[in-house]
Amino acid sequence: MAIDTIDDVLCNGCGICVRNCPMDVIRMDKKNGKAYIKYPEDCMICGVCLECPQKAIHLLPGYKLPTLLGWG
């Protein structure tokens, strides 16, 4: 359920996801004015980005975590 994609067509560049992501995973592409996933490896699977008013953000299905940590 980590962040997977941001739909370029749906994204209207409002920047709410960039602002809200506590892990600074998402940044704004200054060239096209759309949000993009810059640091996917730091996603902590909190789901705060799902508040996207355009429903442009999609998560990976299921839980995918490193096994070593998974056996924590």
Binding site: R19, N20, C21, P22, M23, D24, R27, K38, Y39, E41, D42, M44, I45, C46, G47, V48, L50, E51, Y63, L65, P66, T67, L68, L69, G70, W71, G72
Partner: protein, 558 residues
């Protein structure tokens, strides 16, 4: 070259969760200028978005203080701080009214707040009758409360700086006179000069990946510790976990979804915990204690575990768990020296999970305790800091000191090579997260982990490098997590007994002769040292009662 700006204020608040927001609003109401900074966006950062309810103590609703204190002391196993229990309980109704006056909406029935009893109150746990009644109650707010509190701050005239990370306190002539930090996106270095500073930056735990707040980096605890503050409660954990790969899963867990309440899975009371061999696992004790039993089943090789309902159907609900989260919610942190949440450092206050009141002691005993503890201590810290600021003289900050702090801030960005902070964090988490390090503890395993942590601290952390602004933040967080790991291991090694959620295989019983006491950590001659502080005589349990009566919960192998 990064930009640099200087801001001046009366009161600086670091961290904008429940505690920081209360501190900011209360300080502002006293006529002080207030700046509040937060690493994220206030209302979406830290643990705030996941809070669903808050405890309210109100004699008008039939609550009895002695009964509430007994609940906390029995489950917290007597190392809860009853003075702070009383303060938080007695202030709680006023803070509830504050929230309501700001527009936070509570679940109500016929205009009266709907109070919910302790969710474990009616569960058929085997040891239930050995515990005193669970009397604490919570009220639920409707979604959106963090945004409402943010609006109230703006309305009050608090200056909010979102997405700003503080890296060091500025300490001059023995007094904290502000902080230095950077904007998250473009590393603009900012110097925040303040007459008084409040740390309300949350707790410091090692939570499993997959838990929505697993990334607790202990920034507040560590920056205060580095300024000479005294830290307590680091040996206690609060089990909250989510991880499908783990062989065992806990008998209770919280399900989260963004912006909504934490809620217990329905119907647990009709289910039993079953191990891989099909045998029922006795869940002893109360509240969070039961996690040790579940974890112990995994430890001895009888996982995976399931819940089984009365029809024999097995369930693994949501994300089944790993070990406990390594954080003492509302217990560990920076020690207060008075009822205004001042610390032993002049000009420095702390609140919420950053403040080590030992509110819950050795085990978390209630629901909604952490949010109300944050509200009450936040309000008190805000008022305390405002009073301090109103009397404090302005200090000119030494330029050389600022240059040194700025150099420290930017150092990882200026190194051309070294270790990636992401890699170091991975090594650290792999060292700390396994259940057999900080959950089922033993001296040899903790010493092994500590030796790795010390190596990271001395050899790896000083050589971390950042390729961009994002990694610079990670580098500072990793540094803080390493120091926090050292705190947790040293405190856990020092407490040579088991108590509450501090379980040691090599000392599986409470030791009331030696350990009706708190573990205090402070820096001495450049080293982290642990000390013991005995609890007040009048808070000790009645020693004429048997051990089993004083402690209804049995540890595995006890």
């Amino acid at each position: 070259m990064p930009l640099e700006s200087v801001f001046e204020t009366d009161v600086l608040i670091i961290g904008g969760g429940m505690a920081g927001c209360f501190a900011a609003i209360k300080a502002k109401e006293q006529g002080q200028e207030v700046i509040l900074v937060d690493k994220g966006y206030v209302s979406k950062s830290g643990e705030t978005p996941y809070a669903g309810d808050t405890m309210v103590f109100n004699p008008g609703w039939g609550h009895n203080l002695d009964e509430w204190l007994t609940q906390v002391s029995t489950i917290g196993e007597y190392v809860n701080n009853r003075h702070w229990n009383e303060i938080v309980f007695k202030d709680s109704y006023a803070r509830y009214l504050d929230l309501e006056s700001w527009g936070v909406q509570f679940l109500k029935e016929n205009e009266v707040p709907r109070r919910l009893s302790h969710p474990l109150k009616n569960l058929g746990l085997p040891d239930r009758d050995k515990f005193p009644p669970l009397v604490s109650e919570v009220v639920h707010w409707l979604p959106g409360f963090p945004e409402i509190i943010r609006k109230q701050m703006v309305k009050s005239g608090v200056r909010i700086m979102d997405r700003f990370m503080v890296t060091s306190l500025i300490q001059q002539d023995g007094r904290v006179v502000g902080a230095i930090g950077m904007t998250i996106e473009d590393t603009e270095v900012n110097i925040l000069k303040a007459k008084a500073t409040v740390i309300s930056a949350g707790g410091g735990g090692f939570r499993p990946l997959g838990y929505p707040t697993h990334q607790l980096t202990a920034d507040g605890h560590v920056m205060a510790y580095c300024a000479g503050a005294v830290i307590t409660g680091k040996e206690f954990v609060s089990p909250q976990s989510i991880n499908p790969e783990h062989p065992g899963w806990p008998p209770m867990y919280l399900m989260f979804s963004s912006g909504h309440s934490a809620a217990l899975p329905g119907g647990w009371s009709n289910r039993k915990l079953v191990n891989a061999e099909g045998n029922e696992v006795p869940v002893r004790g109360m509240a969070w204690h039961g996690w040790i039993d579940a974890e112990y089943e995994a430890h001895v090789g009888r996982a995976p575990l399931f819940t089984e309902d009365s029809q024999g159907n097995r369930h693994v609900v949501g994300g089944p768990g790993a070990h406990g989260s390594m954080l003492g919610h509302a217990t560990d942190g920076i020690c207060p020296v008075n009822d205004s949440c001042a610390t032993n450092i002049h000009g420095l206050f702390a609140a919420g999970d950053s403040l080590g009141t030992s509110f819950v002691g050795a085990s978390y005993s209630g629901f909604g305790f952490a949010t109300m503890h944050a509200a009450v201590t936040g309000a008190r810290a805000g008022l305390g800091a405002a009073e301090y600021a109103s009397q404090a003289a302005k200090l000119e900050v030494d330029g050389e000191l600022l240059t040194r702090l700025k150099k420290r801030l930017l150092a990882p960005l200026e190194r051309r090579g070294g270790f990636s902070p992401r890699w170091v964090t991975q090594i650290l988490q792999n060292t700390l997260l396994p259940y057999f390090v900080l959950y089922i503890k033993k001296e040899d395993r903790m010493k092994t982990a500590l030796s790795t942590v010390e190596f990271l601290r001395d050899h790896i952390v000083p050589k971390m490098y950042a390729r961009d602004d994002h990694e610079l933040r990670l580098a500072h967080e990793t540094n803080n997590m390493v120091i926090n790991a050292e705190m947790k291991l040293r405190a856990s090694l020092f407490r040579t007994e088991s108590r509450g959620n501090h379980y040691r295989e090599d000392y599986p019983r409470r030791d009331d002769t030696s350990w009706l006491a708190w573990v205090i950590l402070k820096e001495e001659n450049g080293e982290m040292r642990a000390f013991k502080e005995v609890i007040p005589e009048e808070w000790r349990p009645d020693m004429s009662r048997t051990y089993e009566e004083r402690y209804p919960m049995r540890f595995p192998e006890e």
